[in-house]
Symmetry: C2
Subunit: 156 residues, 2 copies
DNA sequence: CACGATTAAATCGTGTACGATTTATCTAGG
DNA sequence: CCTAGATAAATCGTACACGATTTAATCGTG
């Protein structure tokens, strides 16, 4: 490997990780995260916070565990994240009266107001990928299948 | 979407994120991370620490910035990570005498001793993917290209 | 030689992630 | 009805990840 500190590497010279799909997933996820950060900064959201808002726009009053199933996260990550959304005035949290163990998360008017500004986010990201819809679709299919398999193998 | 809290969702019913490649990358990266955690726990390494060790096994005495180019990370992330590796006795850090700004990271004998145990890690992971080499290769190609594009769009 | 600009690490603050544990609530079997 | 187990959130400690800043060393140009 002949990495130069000045010129960031390209795939053609990707160092000792060429063989590792895992590294590809890892570094692409980092790149997405950084890109989202620049797009979402205007909204004052992080990427996981954005995902929670999108989930609630799709269906409101979800339990923490339901959000966790959708995002593949658990309460140890979600609870503080949701509390920050609450502090920002975007959601409210309240115990379910039918089952006091459950905390349901609802969008405030202000939170629902993000819908329009959120709508254009995927388009912005799409441009940055520089790839065709077909390529992206194939990648997504493969990744979802891979993710499912990894999570399944984790469980046993 | 009809998510049940009891049964984790599959791709066929992936909630409101079906359309989002970014979410696929994000959640697959999380799944990889969790899987690696269970494999690497025996070695006492995290996944990013493992990547640093692999990079140093490939070429020793790399500068922090060179490791950063290989891993797409910067000193704010790498410095504390490398200090933890140093505290674990796996690497040493020393200023480059030719350029005192540069810190070079070297494997200790103990660090190099991980090579054998690290060698079998990719095989373990491969099994968990449940996918063919061809599929994985295609995914990796696509992801590296995507990652390159995202990083390029980030720079301007 | 000087000195402003650049570069390499380090530092700091915030926000995920996650294993492990804790607390509160609910449910079933006796 | 009452308690053992299960379940949902929350809490705690550790480790990334990153924007912004700081410190120290080097370089470039006059």
């Amino acid at each position: 490997m002949t990495l130069s500190a000045q010129e960031p590497q390209k795939s053609e010279d990707a160092g000792p990780f060429d063989r590792f799909l895992c590294f590809a997933a890892y570094s692409t996820s980092l790149a997405f995260n950084r890109l989202y950060k620049s797009v979402l900064d205007d909204l004052g959201l992080t990427y996981p916070q954005y995902l929670v808002i999108v989930a609630l726009l799709h269906r409101d009053r979800q339990a923490v565990s339901e959000l966790g199933d959708a995002l593949f996260l658990e309460s140890n990550t979600l609870t503080p994240l949701i509390k920050r959304l609450e502090a920002a005035g975007l959601v409210t949290r309240q115990r379910d009266s039918a089952d006091e163990r459950v905390v349901r998360v609802s969008l405030t008017a202000q939170g629902r107001g993000l819908a329009d500004r959120i709508a254009c986010v995927p388009t912005d990201i799409l441009k940055a990928t520089g790839m065709s819809i077909e390529e992206l679709g194939a990648l997504q299919q493969g990744l979802m299948k891979l993710g499912d398999n990894l999570r399944a193998s984790q469980r046993d």
